[in-house]
Symmetry: C2
Subunit: 149 residues, 2 copies
Amino acid sequence: MRKTTGAIGGLGAALAMSAALGLGASGTAHAEPATPKSLYPPSALVLTVGYGPDDASSVAVQRAVTLSCQPTPTGTHPAPARACAELRAVNGEFSTLTEATESGRMCTKEWRPVTVTAEGIWDGQRVSYEHTFANNCLKNAAVTQLYEF
Amino acid sequence: MRKTTGAIGGLGAALAMSAALGLGASGTAHAEPATPKSLYPPSALVLTVGYGPDDASSVAVQRAVTLSCQPTPTGTHPAPARACAELRAVNGEFSTLTEATESGRMCTKEWRPVTVTAEGIWDGQRVSYEHTFANNCLKNAAVTQLYEF
């Protein structure tokens, strides 16, 4: 199976393939476990934004959304297609997204920490990511739209 | 502030309020954080089913779905309304759901462990729940439909 690139065309082809594979599997009897496996690795995440520093227990979760990227981008995230494309583009490396900052953005250095988290499954692997921005301006200066909700 | 009930009418009102507050915050200078708070505590979960024993690192995640219960039940879970109703009925006590078993269900005692997990946010609080059934029959004997996907 070829790797999707995050472009919409690639995604469409991947979806068509997933659907075709899914139909094929349900029509045949073979040695699979009683509960059928998915034919693509699941990607299902909960993303949160909260005020507070790194230590998760001290962060008050202000907002939380779901994001699912397989078989189709969906979730309570306001822009699931964009969010999934971003994650595919960096192969699920959440820190790469967080670190890319818009050039020329001016922010104060005030310490009013905003912590973002991503938990769940990306491409079949458990994910537990957390990053603290010193303040909301710096959070908004990140190029990624993953935590814009 | 009145509490929203999860009904569509309540949702509409809550969204309208959020929008109004959001606009107010960006247009005026006061002590609110730049990013408006939600008007209800978020509930956003990733549920997984995998083959393997308790130790999460040894569990191969077979399937994962998202479930969001506020403002309206949604997600890649096949029955979000039912799943959210179950969780509300036990006030988010995941173990209560897992422990309730259909009476008269016969299962072998074969050890072929199936581990279910729930991660994310329930009613504004972080959740990290994991339970291992000795085999898939015992998993299916649980009354809850939370992990039926």
